[in-house]
């Protein structure tokens, strides 16, 4: 289901609340912002996954050298 894009405007002086649909310009900007966000989220997730993989690999190598889990934890 596609949700309606609504703007709620609250006038702090008069307390008047107005609800209106997005203008075409606002809708276009929303799509631009959304796409940019999704692209950045994807990059951040890839970076986090790469860091987690590198950490796991390093810990495995340390364990292979004979370090105990407590000693590996102390290095963090």
């Amino acid at each position: 289901m596609v949700e309606t894009m609504t703007v709620v405007e609250i006038n702090c002086e008069t307390n008047q609340v107005t609800e209106r649909p997005y203008t075409s310009q606002e809708l276009a900007q929303y799509e631009i912002d959304k796409q940019a966000l999704e692209e950045r989220e994807s990059i951040e997730r890839q970076e986090l996954a790469a860091k987690a993989a590198a950490k796991a690999s390093a810990e495995a190598k340390l364990a292979a050298l004979g370090l105990t889990p407590e000693e590996i934890a102390a290095l963090r």
Partner: protein, 170 residues
């Protein structure tokens, strides 16, 4: 003695993507905004919304520290203004509240750029959560007369609320 006065309160009874506090009185020293956003998205995603002083994010800068279940605490220094606040909506989180408070000192000044300080925490469950702290700097010296809150990847749902306070030094 400082005073803390409610300027406006708004509770959403339906869905909306954007909430605008307009014509903000210029009679206080600082502003404080408490926002609780409610989401029913229910997919694994960082759900983000923007705050736009005077409906502009042109030239803003942001630094944030955040942590959520899939990451160690992470640091993000971002020259881009696209994502200002976010909360983690895990795959198991179909209903959750995201709580944010924002402090904006010296908002009436017409000679300095403005900074916004933000603390964010997701009210969810033990396995799905997100916390962050961020600071934002605008590149405009205009007094802040409006604050626009806008969902980037989702709509604010019924049950969301926003409270704008004015703080006076005397």
């Amino acid at each position: 003695m400082a005073t803390f006065k409610l300027i406006q309160a708004y509770n959403l009874t339906g869905s909306a993507n954007t909430i605008v506090f307009d014509t903000i009185p210029q009679t206080y020293t600082d502003l404080c905004l408490y926002v609780t956003t409610y989401s029913t998205r229910g997919v694994a995603s960082v759900e983000s919304w923007q705050i736009r002083p005077n409906n502009s994010i042109s030239g803003t800068e942001q630094t944030r520290i955040f942590s959520y279940p899939l990451s160690s605490p992470a640091f993000n220094s971002d020259g881009g203004p696209n994502e200002l606040y976010s909360s983690w909506s895990g795959a198991n989180a179909s209903n959750f509240y995201n709580n944010v408070w924002i402090y904006i000192p010296n908002y009436t000044s017409t000679s300095v750029t403005k900074c916004l300080m933000v603390d964010n925490g997701t009210d969810n469950n033990s396995s799905e959560w997100m916390v962050s702290h961020s600071s934002m700097r605008t590149n405009s010296t205009s007094a802040i007369t409006s604050l626009t809150l806008s969902g980037v990847s989702y709509n604010f749902q019924a049950g969301s609320s926003a409270y704008l306070y004015g703080i006076s030094n005397a």
